[in-house]
């Protein structure tokens, strides 16, 4: 069973944090089809959160077709996000990234420079996609 935690400083709303934690667990294979999610009261006790927030997160997951609520029984995982073709792509991409990192270090960039460069490039690329 998944155990939730909340980061108060992340700026991500509690409801979205719950959704993301389930999605991540599904992607990593930590949650599988047939697994039951904790009850609303369990989550409330675990992380001191508003029950409406938990319900909202579960509804969103249900809407996305990832879980199903069975009245009286609980909320169950009905799909997986662990995509074999995606996982297969991780290896080569990581290798490319390592090569690029080595190149950046060789050019004299410190860790912070690398992070700033990556984030600005990532953001502008994302924004170009939106625009």
């Amino acid at each position: 069973m998944i155990e939730f935690h909340l980061d108060d400083r992340s700026g991500v709303s509690p409801y979205l944090q719950l959704v993301q934690q389930v999605r991540r667990a599904l992607r990593l294979g930590l949650l599988r089809e047939g697994d039951r999610l904790p009850t609303v009261r369990d989550v409330v006790a675990q992380v001191t959160i508003n029950p409406n927030t938990v319900l909202k997160a579960y509804r969103e997951l249900e809407h996305a077709g990832l879980v199903t609520a069975r009245p009286g029984a609980g909320t169950f995982v009905t799909a997986t996000l662990a995509d074999a073709t995606l996982t297969a792509a991780y290896g080569p991409l990581r290798q490319d990234l390592r090569r690029w990192l080595a190149k950046a270090r060789l050019a004299g960039l410190a860790d912070e420079d690398i992070e700033a460069l990556f984030m600005t490039t990532f953001q502008s690329a994302t924004q170009e996609d939106i625009a």
């Binding site: 992340s10 009261r41 409330v44 992380v47 029950p51 600005t120």
Partner: protein, 298 residues
Amino acid sequence: MTPVLRARALGKMYKQRWALTGCTLDIPAGHVTGLVGPNGAGKSTLLNLAAGMLTPTSGTIEVCGGRPGSGPAQLAKVGFVAQDTPTYPGLTVADHLQLGARLNPGWDDALARHRIKRLALDPARPAGKLSGGQRAQLALTLGIAKRPELLMLDEPVAALDPLARREFLQDLMDAVAEYGLSVVLSSHLIADLERVCDHLIVLVGSKVQVAGEVEDLLAVHHRLSGPRRDLSTLPANQHVISASHTDRQTTLLVRTDDPILDPAWSVGRLSLEDLVLAYLSRPAEPGHDHRPAREVVR
């Protein structure tokens, strides 16, 4: 959905001073609403008006569809835990439960006894001899066992240590999950409310600065930082809540329903605390200030 609390141009004057003025609000049912503002903003006045402990000087207020304090049926619908979670120091825990049972037609005795047992409170102990956390839990027990539609709590955790605070809020949320009651709780510290509220009202100087679902509020507020910029060049749909400049850089907190497209900005998320603080420190907008001048009557 019908609001659990509806205020229209509500005001309260003590002697010569307005404690609350022009307050227009709708608090939806089924939510946990945080009422945030600095000390003296009018939070306690608003809650006392809603509980029927005070009568308005101007405007109207309706709670659970009725006028606060208008009769036994109305009183049964609303629970109120006043500031500093008051109890009777000379009366024992058991006395408090008996009092609760006598005074409240909808009293849930099994619930009250179960809670006292789980909290390991000695029924024979006078409330005056309980710790602050235990006293708060006793007051919360009375508020929940009354089985109200709306439970209001005025600064319930301000005096508690962090562990007692966490336990108190946990029990309150458990009651929300179990009984589906609506809750309004006030605090001058947003950090106390961040996890438990799904609806937020920021009250400053008797005026509602911002109100809405926490989720929606977080989605429409952004922190922008970038090269120094004249604010008049911003798109019309971006409302600046706060701005600070150095000679080269500008940092803004804006409210907008649309995506931020300008590549000059780096866009950051806000925590609820940042958002609230920005509104708390915002100077009153010229031309939008309907407050009777408090300063004049002092």
